[in-house]
């Protein structure tokens, strides 16, 4: 047993907090992620993580809770992208890129001020790449409440959201306010990104958002199964990542462990790579599967 789980894993307080917050944020990210991938908004999702970086580093500078910084900046960023036109397909990447670029610049400034004027160390590392083991257990209630709220919003708008992702004309004909649904979704996306930012760091939260969802969509034939599979992959990757990171303190003679986020991202990436050949095999055996995006769509 000790080969797999190093002593003290389950009795450690920080590990318990990490497992709880990790699981909750992984589920929210996975659910929101399925819609993000289906809508082709991976870049927007990723850009919001960079905006969250700005918020996190700003919060660090002003001495506010990083979670508030991540969430606040994410919501502002989502609004800004909506304003300069992420809803239109054409030029969407450009609008995203401009917001992303500006946010990164601000993050650079805040991190610079953090490290120079406040004599704090580890700010860059902590904000960008996360430190799930140092989370304060008192943040659990806030994380859970925000997660539930996000899931409720997604559950309410799931039908118009899905319809507008596949055919905006049909959705408009049915009287769905595309703009409102899009904005609500961007806000949910911002909150999901903010939550996973405190777990695995703002730059890497894209992994939990896109990875499990992209993997699940390859296997699934319905929205429900995609959401469930994505959630399971997300939670398993997170827990296994926490475990491996905990163990890795004993791997090197320097007892310098590898970061948790590295393991989580690596597991998520691995799952996606493995899912390619697997889903191709199940397709040959005649299982139903979602149509693969056509060459044209993938190339643009």
């Amino acid at each position: 047993m000790h080969l797999v789980i190093e002593p003290g894993f389950f009795s450690s307080g920080p590990v318990g907090t990490a497992l709880v917050i990790g699981a909750v944020t992984a589920v929210v990210s996975a659910v929101v992620g399925v819609f993000t991938v289906v809508r082709g908004q991976s870049f927007a999702g990723h850009a919001l993580t960079d905006v969250a970086t700005t918020g996190g580093s700003g919060a660090f500078y002003f001495g506010v809770s990083p979670l508030l910084g991540f969430l606040g900046a994410g919501v502002v960023g989502a609004g800004a992208m909506d304003l300069i036109g992420v809803q239109r397909m054409r030029g969407r990447d450009l609008a995203t890129g401009i917001v992303l670029g500006l946010a990164t610049g601000l993050a650079a400034l805040f991190l610079f001020l953090d490290t120079t004027s406040r004599a704090t160390t580890g700010a860059t590392q902590q904000i960008l790449f996360g430190s799930i083991f140092t989370l304060d257990p008192s943040t659990i209630p806030l994380v859970v409440v925000m997660s539930l709220a996000t899931l409720v919003v997604i559950a309410v708008i799931r039908r118009p959201l899905l319809l507008s992702s596949f055919s905006s004309e049909l959705a408009a004909a049915k009287g769905i306010g595309l703009r409102r649904v899009g904005l609500l979704f961007m806000l949910a996306l911002a909150v999901a990104v903010g939550l996973s930012s405190i777990a695995i760091g703002s730059v890497l939260s894209t992994a939990l958002l896109i990875g499990p969802a992209a993997t699940a969509i390859r296997f699934s034939t319905s929205l429900r199964s995609a959401v469930i599979v994505a959630g399971v992959i997300g939670v398993l990757s997170t827990w296994l990542g926490v475990l491996l990171a905990y163990d890795s303190f004993y791997w090197f003679p320097s007892s310098q462990g590898l970061p948790v986020s590295f393991f989580i991202v690596a597991l998520v990436f691995l799952a996606y790579l493995v899912s390619g050949p697997l889903s191709a095999r199940s397709a040959r055996r005649g299982a139903l599967r979602a149509p693969r995006p056509s060459r044209v769509e993938a190339g643009t």
Partner: protein, 268 residues
């Protein structure tokens, strides 16, 4: 501001701006903003890895950015291009974080790799940057017509027998090359803003591709020069100014385009 230790910074920034203006023009035209953002992050991991095992960072940068470019091109063939790009990006960043966690130099190393350190450029760094810069510009010059055709009128490009996938791979390799030379100078996260802001603004002012390309280079130069000057005066990171001025230039471009004939903004 033009003291001897600053000469290198001005020189190298000028080269970087020219390359970013040229390559960025096609990034904007082709809508490749996401790969242009992802590849520099791969380069970040390469530099961190090279740092760890003690080889020249330029080698790590080159290997990883090329690997990221080819990996994205390969995986995009089956699967959604944007999801694949996002995943490749975070995987590279996570590798970079892992490498850095094992190395002894920590905070300043991360910061300068991600956000650049143009004021600390040594004379030895100039030659490789010049060579890679010339290679990039030459490659774009060679690919110019093909890039333009496949980006703007893919149907005509196909009718002429051009293979869009091949052009895309070639372009991603050029992007990787441009990244390798620019990351040590302006940082992984900010070369992207330089490749997006000025070229996108240039397209708001001019329609014809040739003049737009020239204007894109000019705007990139102005952005970088102004950023260095402000950074020198205020001591704030140069990356902040580069991104702020890029966004400003783009904002002015959008406003100009909105006023000009009151027609839709030429995006993508």
């Amino acid at each position: 501001m033009f003291a001897s230790f600053m000469v290198n910074a001005w020189l190298i920034a000028t080269i970087v701006a020219v390359v970013a203006g040229v390559v960025g023009f096609f990034v904007v035209l082709r809508g490749s903003a996401f790969p242009a953002h992802a590849i520099p992050n791969g380069a970040f991991a390469g530099a961190a890895g090279a740092n760890l095992i003690g080889v020249n960072p330029l080698i790590g940068l080159g290997v990883f950015s090329l690997g990221a470019a080819l990996g994205i091109a390969r995986l995009s063939r089956r699967g959604r291009a944007d999801a694949v790009t996002a995943l490749a990006l975070v995987m590279m960043l996570a590798l970079g974080a892992a490498f850095l966690s094992q190395s002894t130099e920590y905070e300043p190393a991360i910061f300068s790799l991600l956000f650049g350190e143009i004021l600390g450029v040594s004379s030895g760094q100039i030659l490789p940057v010049v060579i890679l810069g010339v290679v990039c510009v030459l490659a774009v010059a060679l690919l110019y017509r093909r890039l333009l055709l496949t980006s703007v009128v893919p149907e005509i490009a196909a009718a002429r027998g051009l293979r869009p996938e091949r052009v895309e791979v070639a372009f991603l390799v050029v992007l990787a090359c441009a990244t390798t030379m620019t990351v040590p100078v302006v940082g992984a996260l900010l070369i992207f803003t330089l490749m997006i802001g000025p070229p996108a603004a240039a397209r708001c002012f001019v329609d014809r591709p040739g003049p737009a390309l020239v204007l894109s280079v000019v705007l990139a130069l102005v952005t970088v020069w102004a950023a260095i000057a402000c950074s020198y005066r205020t001591n704030w990171p140069v990356g902040f100014y580069v991104s702020a001025f890029s966004a400003l230039v783009y904002g002015v471009g959008r406003a100009f385009a909105a006023r000009r004939l009151r027609r839709p903004v030429p995006v993508a």
